[in-house]
């Protein structure tokens, strides 16, 4: 099952946790100096490593359609940059669908562990297991002083980025999120929108991640992030409680209207879906609505994204055809639950 289809810890505030390790092979340059032959050699070396490891599947991205690649981006399994690559690249995933390795992304290897809810340790352990398998068979670029050597100097050292996707409707509605964003750099954190760098926070979804990678241990990065996002989660929960105490009827009306629209609309674009998703998810978190679960809502959101919707349809669709199919999928799903 994909991460969003599984139960997780503290789903009221946390949607997912992703751990990424940047690793590179010695003797090979980085893109764009890496030619096609070099990229194919790296891919073959990684394929060989995982051919003898239990429970991993190799996918050559040459044979993957553009829409399938975009669908993987929508599921947060590969980066948008990786999906856009025109040169040889590949993906390894484990059978539990918790480890995704991008081969020949910005770095030769981006090893990712992904879990539902808040579980940095689980995601880290999954990524480190794959890392150990590679380390045992290949020569990884490392310097005793600088740490793991990466394409971009900002990732040097541990090469570790822990990203936590948080659902923060109350902090967004009250504007408190802005003051939190302003203080993040002081504690070595950055925040991005839903789909990564430079993207907007649709659906009140924010990705928080560590910005410091060198001079600290993996454990320190994890503990620092855990403490920071824990404080943000507490602020979100307290603000939700205040909103509920002061505007209970208005909030109930908003949540149930959103659920009603989801279950009855005949056309719906992604912008509207994000708004309704945020309202209903907030209703679930506040105990206003118990018709749907976090898992069902998060799954619905991803299944209704353009490329994933198109992949399910099995044919290319115009924007209005997608809006119609999206509404139909939501209508049938919500009506089944009610």
């Amino acid at each position: 099952m994909y991460w969003y289809e599984t139960e997780g810890t503290d789903r009221d505030v946390f949607v997912s946790t992703r751990v990424r390790l940047a690793r590179n092979l010695v003797d090979y340059p980085f893109d764009p100096r890496l030619d096609e032959t070099g990229a194919k050699e790296i891919i073959e070396k990684i394929r060989t490593v995982f051919a003898t490891e239990q429970g991993y599947t190799f996918t050559d991205f040459t044979g993957v359609t553009e829409n399938e690649k975009l669908s993987l981006v929508e599921k947060h399994l590969v980066s948008p940059e990786f999906a856009r690559k025109k040169t040889p690249c590949a993906m390894i995933e484990n059978n539990e669908q918790q480890v995704y390795i991008m081969v020949c992304e910005e770095d030769h290897l981006r090893i990712q562990g992904i879990r539902s809810g808040f579980d940095p340790r689980g995601a880290m352990d999954a990524a480190l297991k794959a890392d150990a398998a590679i380390d045992a068979k290949l020569h990884i670029a490392f310097d005793e002083e600088l740490g793991y050597l990466t394409h971009c100097p900002t990732n040097l050292g541990t090469g570790l980025r822990i990203s936590v996707m948080m659902f923060l409707p109350a902090l967004t509605a009250t504007g408190r999120i802005k003051s939190i964003q302003g203080q993040l750099s002081k504690i070595g954190l950055t925040v991005r929108g839903t789909t990564g760098e430079g993207s907007a926070a649709k659906g009140c979804l924010y990705q928080f991640s560590n910005s410091v990678t060198q001079g600290v241990t993996e454990e320190e990065i994890l503990n620092n992030l855990q403490q920071a996002v824990g404080t943000i989660a507490q602020a979100e929960r307290e603000t939700r409680q205040q909103l509920l105490e002061n505007n209970a009827d208005l909030l109930k009306d908003r949540v149930m209207r959103a659920l009603g629209t989801m279950g009855s609309a005949y056309m719906m674009d992604t912008e509207e879906l994000y708004r309704l998703y945020a309202d209903v998810r907030m209703g679930v978190a506040m105990g206003i609505c118990d018709t749907v679960t976090y898992t069902q809502l998060d799954t619905l959101l991803i299944h209704c994204m353009p490329a994933t919707l198109t992949a399910r349809a099995g044919e290319s669709l115009s924007a209005s055809q997608r809006d119609k199919l999206r509404a139909e999928h939501l209508r049938t799903s919500i009506q089944k639950l009610c």
Binding site: A132, E145, P153, L156, L160, G188, G215
Partner: protein
């Protein structure tokens, strides 16, 4: 406000630096700002500014002697000027080939930090051995001080064996 470096002239450049969560504020006069910039590279580079990384590569300025900029990486053949233009290194060996040139950039990005995290297995084994040697050397010193020469000889042999590995 007076310059916090020379304490004489009026400060005109105000700069706040946050490295590993530690905040440092500077208020400098023009002359001091120019001197510090020569030592450490430009003040105004944004460490997390995506494509702005090119400007992070301190040391490469239009005034940089052409000869120094044309040194090439032993593996990928990139020059430091090319690295500075791209904001990224050409290959893992660039970090060795341009260690000196990259040092100011890395210092600004990560502070004077040295890697303390995990390491590939073979480096980890070496790191463990070095830690053992340091502990044994401490014990050896104590043994010599307390005139336990038999124990000291044993410790010396253990250190020698570990170093040989």
């Amino acid at each position: 406000m007076k310059c916090t470096r020379c304490h004489a002239k009026e400060a005109t450049v105000f700069y706040r630096e946050i490295i590993n969560g530690k905040e440092t504020k500077y208020a400098l006069c023009n002359d001091c700002a120019n001197e510090v910039e020569k030592e450490n590279g430009s003040f105004f580079a944004d460490p997390l500014g995506g494509n702005l990384l090119g400007s992070l590569f301190a040391g490469v300025t239009p005034k940089m002697p052409q000869k120094k900029a044309e040194k090439k990486c032993t593996l990928c053949g990139a020059t430091f000027r090319q690295l500075a233009e791209n904001g990224k290194v050409g290959c893992p060996a660039c970090y060795t080939s341009f260690r000196e040139e990259l040092a100011p950039t890395l210092k600004r990005l990560h502070g004077a930090a040295v890697h303390r995290g995990r390491a590939p297995e073979k480096f980890q084994a070496k790191r463990t051995a070095m830690e053992k040697i340091a502990a044994l050397e401490g014990a050896l010193k104590k043994a010599i001080e307390s005139e336990e020469y038999e124990e000291a000889a044993k410790l010396r042999d253990q250190i020698r064996d570990l170093r040989a590995q």
